[in-house]
């Protein structure tokens, strides 16, 4: 059962050390706010991976292009849910759209999100699938036929000219899409990076660090989904595709690691008045989640594994296993990154004289179970999306000719 706030706070008070302002005992942004940037990161990363295919014409990754797009969409649909659940007054959340405060980074959330969802992702998926949907709907059962007809917005033109236009549109949207994906996750970083009162957050590097960790987590997610879904369809994993994705992952992790290291060195070298309390925070409160999980397990170990794969000839079966393990470790690491930023940034007092504590509930809206539900939900959405828009089935060319005749 959830306890009354003050009872919980009395318990937390026992764990606080040093002096903290009296209103600071409660950690306001809990696990749900950790989940939010984690989910949006996956969206941005998956989309950027998909974009590589279209913009840079990377043939190897072609087979996961549609899967990556659907992954991005399913995570994007669920991502605002944790924020909504976290609000004290969720019923007023629409006010953000009706009377936004334009100086607030959080108010811009709705606009960036709507832009990304409506203009980028949905349009790109629509143009990508349009021809196939029309052809699928020709010989399907009643329900699926109507679902597809509605999804195609009752368009029927599959002439060569029309499909060529679709292709052009996809390319154009991808080109707008990449900076939009950067914007989507950059702004999440900005929400934290612009809080000047908090030295753990306030950094111009924050949006960029968020962005690269997003790319890392998104690519790792698509690798994981691809490696689980392909065998379950009794298909062989395309090793050229997997190697290429792993290669991107490797470079993205290196950039992400360098950026975080740069941020760390910069803080240490500037060493402002907050440095003492931040060292205390890292050594006492975040040692396991930052030192062990984020850096050691989530970054250095997968990097090491991938270096080994690059240096030595590792046969395909072992390579698959190693990629799978690395991708899981990276997910763990990026989740820890979000945790360390969000919760870590609230564990020290703004008086810089003490540390507070965070205790996650098991049940309740802000609890562990709810978090697990929120993390599983996108996969359920993805399963439904895959059923409706199978990413690996293209309408056969013969059908196309038959219809256009």
């Amino acid at each position: 059962m959830t306890q009354p706030v003050h009872q919980m706070l009395y318990e937390l008070l026992k764990q606080a050390t040093g002096f903290i302002y009296p209103n600071e005992i409660e950690v306001h942004w809990g696990i749900l706010v950790v989940v939010y940037p984690y989910l949006t990161g996956l969206v941005a990363g998956a989309f950027i991976l998909a974009s590589l295919v279209k913009v840079f014409n990377v043939k190897e990754v072609q087979s996961v292009y549609r899967l990556a797009l659907l992954t991005a969409l399913s995570f994007l649909l669920i991502a605002p849910l944790p924020l909504l659940l976290h609000l004290g007054h969720p019923e007023r959340s629409f006010e953000i759209f009706l009377t936004p405060n334009f100086t607030s980074a959080m108010a811009m959330f709705g606009f960036v999100y709507a832009w990304y969802l409506m203009v980028v992702l949905l349009l790109e998926i629509w143009f990508t699938y349009r021809k196939d949907i029309i052809l699928w709907s020709k010989n399907e059962s009643f329900t699926m036929r109507w679902i597809h007809k509605i999804l195609s917005l009752f368009s029927t033109d599959i002439s060569e000219k029309a499909t060529l236009f679709d292709k052009k549109m996809v390319k154009a949207i991808t080109i707008i899409g990449i900076p939009s994906a950067f914007l989507l996750h950059g702004y999440v970083g900005f929400i934290f990076g612009s809080i000047k009162a908090n030295p753990w957050w306030s950094s111009v590097l924050m949006p960029i660090v968020f962005l690269f960790s997003a790319i890392v987590s998104g690519i790792a997610l698509v690798i994981l989904i691809y490696m689980v879904v392909t065998p379950s369809r009794k298909q062989k994993i395309d090793m050229a595709c997997l190697d290429k994705m792993a290669s991107y992952l490797f470079y993205a992790v290196i950039i992400d690691f360098s950026l975080e290291f740069l941020d760390f060195i910069h803080r240490l070298y500037e060493s402002e008045e907050s440095i003492k309390i931040l060292s205390d925070l890292v050594v006492n409160k975040l040692f396991i989640s930052l030192g062990i999980i984020q850096i050691l397990l989530g970054m250095l170990l997968p990097l090491g594994i991938m270096v080994v794969i690059k240096l030595f000839r590792v046969d395909a079966e072992l390579r698959k296993l190693l990629y799978f393990v690395s991708a899981i470790l990276i997910q763990l690491g990026i989740f820890a990154t979000r945790w360390n930023v969000v919760v870590g940034g609230q564990m020290f007092s703004k008086s810089f004289r003490g540390l507070t504590a965070y205790k996650m509930e098991l049940t309740g809206i802000e609890g562990l179970l709810m978090t697990l539900v929120l993390l599983v939900l996108p996969f359920i959405v993805l399963t439904i999306l895959i059923k409706i828009l199978p990413p690996w089935e293209h309408a056969p060319v013969s059908d196309l000719e038959a219809v256009s005749d």
């Binding site: 009354p4 706030v5 003050h6 706070l9 008070l13 026992k14 606080a16 050390t17 040093g18 002096f19 903290i20 302002y21 009296p22 209103n23 600071e24 005992i25 409660e26 306001h28 942004w29 924020l83 976290h86 609000l87 004290g88 007054h89 969720p90 007023r92 959340s93 006010e95 953000i96 009377t99 936004p100 405060n101 100086t103 607030s104 980074a105 959080m106 108010a107 959330f109 929400i191 612009s194 809080i195 000047k196 009162a197 908090n198 008045e273 609230q346 007092s349 703004k350 008086s351 810089f352 004289r353």
Partner: protein, 246 residues
């Protein structure tokens, strides 16, 4: 009554009631005699006068329906002990949340003092900047307040406040903070904390007036604000402020 007549009557009624409503509102506003454009409020705190009795914090809780639990404060008092070896111990004078068990003997103390804290009513308030729906805003007379009917409880303002002056009201689920007792000052009364202070450590008034007690306080003291480097431009200023206070 035919439909046309009903329509005409209905619209006349709506129009006239709107007009009367607006007129009444204007009339009551005038009758209260309060004109926000004629004021710009601030507070002065004389550290040397504060005896740490905590009556200000109690009065504030009573006046403003602040939960009695010790995790919710619109104003509070900190006690600083600076030892001869340079160590600084800070405590809250509310015994329930004073978690430092350290015993400092009198001969070890170099100096000690009390510091009342409250919302600094910044001229450049980060909380107003970040509020996604504009629920927290600055009034014409310079007071930062929260519209609790609009606040969505996202707590972004709590994160943005460098002074720990905001909390989430556990019943309303909205952000709450010191309002300089806005309901009192617009009736020409002093904020509750100022009124009960036995030593007049807190001085409230109009920042533009040079003849008021606040004007005199500003004239006769060297003043400091908290965390000036953040450029929040607090309208609460302290005299005799120690460098250790943040």
């Amino acid at each position: 009554m035919d439909r046309r007549k009903f329509g005409t009557k209905f619209f006349t009624l709506v129009a006239s009631s709107t007009f009367i409503g607006a007129w009444l509102k204007k009339a009551t506003a005038q009758s209260s005699g309060y004109d926000p454009s004629k004021h710009y409020y601030g507070m002065g705190i004389q550290i040397n006068k504060c005896i740490g009795c905590g009556r200000c914090a109690d009065a504030c809780k009573d006046e403003n329906n602040v939960p009695k639990e010790p995790f919710f404060f619109r104003t509070w008092v900190e006690r600083y002990l600076i030892k001869k070896d340079g160590d600084v111990t800070v405590q809250n004078i509310d015994k329930r949340i004073n978690n430092t068990s350290e015993n400092v003997t009198e001969k070890d103390i170099l100096r000690s003092f009390f510091v009342p804290k409250l919302c600094n009513q910044c001229d450049n308030p980060p909380c107003v900047q970040v509020c996604p729906v504009g629920a927290t805003f600055k009034t014409e007379d310079g007071v930062i307040i929260v519209d609790e009917d609009r606040c969505i409880g996202c707590r972004y303002c709590i994160q943005a406040c460098p002074y720990g002056a905001r909390y989430l009201h556990p019943e309303n689920q909205t952000a709450d903070k010191c309002t300089f007792c806005y309901h009192r000052i617009t009736k020409d009364l002093l904020p509750a904390c100022v009124e009960v202070c036995p030593t007049q450590a807190r001085i409230f008034g109009d920042l533009r007036s040079s003849t008021s007690p606040l004007g005199r306080f500003k004239r006769l003291n060297k003043l400091h604000v908290l965390k000036p480097f953040l450029n929040t431009e607090p309208k609460v200023s302290y005299s005799d402020l120690d460098g250790e206070v943040r």
